[in-house]
Symmetry: C2
């Protein structure tokens, strides 16, 4: 008899080479491959219980009962997993994040990675890491990168079958640190799912996508060689390309806030003076500043002194999603 309850943890990830735009919205097949790092200190913990007694799915996030689109997205994902197993049993999902809500740290990657691993386990299914990654991708594209450990690459693939992420280096491969400068945001952001849908409305998106393999190769090489300068150059270039595609989409999406620009310029100045630091920015105003651990205290101190930086979170390379 299979267990009907399980708990999993997963970490969010920050992309070095970004995912922006789908060629299939439902299957979340990305327009281009991507590379990211899991963030160890930030964790989503999700417990799921399947019970024939439930008449509908229940989803509690950080202790709050969810409804509407948040609940619907979980139900939709559970339906995909239930479809594999051929059951209709409803579930109670309890998910907790240890990182501040509303700080603009994207939580959908860790949420759907943890949910996928917990649900598959609770249903008694045996699945390879590859298939877990494929499945997590259906819930939130970047969730597929939170399944394997450390630094991961998501293959664009040709179909649902071969679009998944693999680990390209373990967490201890390189003592990189992500300093997340949390920025005061005056405006509510457009969600990533919504953004992906209008990515192709930018005239620049096709060019960004066509050039992606070059950036992926350069990033993977820099990562494997632990070449900080090469990594810095390619992640900043890739981040700039994604944000400029956003700014030229219709409607135009501006995730940057004044402090975002301030930090980007500061980091570039620091690097010119020999400090190994580089920025990348996801679909929000916060800036992720990568540095080698020897520069951590210096970078944290400098970031904290920039007006508009509310707090600085620190994260090291993280492990993959797992049952606990």
């Amino acid at each position: 008899m299979s267990p009907n309850t399980a708990t999993a943890i997963a970490h969010p990830n920050i992309a070095f080479i970004k995912y922006w735009g789908n060629r299939d919205q439902t299957l979340r097949l990305p327009e281009n491959g991507s590379i990211s790092m899991n963030l160890e200190e930030l964790t989503t913990r999700t417990r799921i219980t399947f019970d024939q007694a439930f008449s509908s799915d229940i989803f509690d996030l950080n202790g709050l009962r969810q409804s509407g689109p948040a609940l619907q997205r979980v139900v939709t994902h559970l339906n995909v997993i239930r479809g594999i197993r051929g059951i209709a049993t409803r579930a109670h999902v309890m998910s907790e994040n240890n990182f501040p809500i509303g700080a603009g740290i994207a939580s959908s990657a860790s949420a759907f990675a943890a949910l996928t691993v917990a649900a598959v386990n609770a249903m008694g299914l045996e699945m390879s890491e590859k298939d877990l990654s494929r499945l997590a991708r259906r819930g939130s594209g970047s969730a597929c990168r939170s399944i394997p450990t450390g630094f991961t690459e998501w293959y664009r693939g040709n179909s649902d079958m071969d679009s998944f992420a693999v680990s390209i280096a373990k967490p201890n491969h390189w003592d990189l640190v992500d300093c997340i400068a949390v920025v005061a945001a005056a405006h509510k952001k457009t969600g990533s799912s919504e953004g992906h849908k209008i990515a192709s409305s930018s005239l620049f998106q096709a060019v960004r996508v066509a050039d992606a393999d070059r950036r992926i190769d350069r990033c993977r090489d820099a990562l494997l060689a632990r070449d900080f300068d090469a990594l810095a150059e390619i992640i900043e270039e890739d981040s700039n390309m994604m944000h400029t595609v956003m700014m030229t989409s219709r409607p135009a999406l501006f995730y940057w806030e004044p402090a975002t620009i301030e930090i980007m310029k500061a980091v570039q100045t620091w690097r010119k003076t020999g400090i190994p630091a580089a920025y990348t920015i996801d679909a929000g105003p916060n800036v992720h500043i990568f540095c080698e651990s020897k520069a951590l205290e210096n970078v944290k101190h400098r970031l904290a002194s920039i007006p508009g930086v509310k707090e600085v979170l620190v994260a090291h390379p993280g492990s993959g999603a797992k049952i606990v």
Copy 2:
């Protein structure tokens, strides 16, 4: 006997559809056509005197004797004009701007428009507006747009012969006002001439250029129809496209400062509440906010309250370059 001295005035212009990138750096033949408005209240006044007694060209800018690249650029332009006349007489050029130096208002357009008109007149040459525009273009590309009056369009052209600007509407065609929000800049900007040279290093530049005729047509139509909403949409789109090309060039050029983003977002919010205002940004951090004159006091007041705005200059549609 031809006069050997003349004084001309010209106004800088602000582009609605931007010029960024040359296909011929020496002739300053642009990669795409552009549209702009002369700025009446901002004026460059240039007096030139040719005298056989001078052993070299002298250039005074705002009362300060110039040397190095600033002088060399004037000498190079005078050599082009002297070449037409077939003379080698040296000149003394005295140029004054009535707008604050270092406020980041590009002065090369008005400078080379005024210099061209003054020098041609002082040499006793008769030249059509078209030929003056072609000639001014050689000194600074956007100077060709400061030769005709009001709202002007610079034809991309196929060669030096047909790349020049014409007036597409007189200054009184539309009571538009340009509120120039002068922004504190922490970093010295890269000059436009230098920027034009690396425009093609952005993967997005070719797309921006290929789409330019569409934007020009839309902008000209909006201008001629006095359709503010249509003008707002196309000038913001065009400005965003130029700046994102800059940000993705190698090296990446970031002209925006924190206050630049603040103003861009504010203007978009204002327009949603019915205030006819739209932004455009040249190769610098200052933001030009266009509004209809009925909204001028409201827009000025709102701009002045944004942190980081040092001052707000106001300019109406301006006349072309002329002898005074």
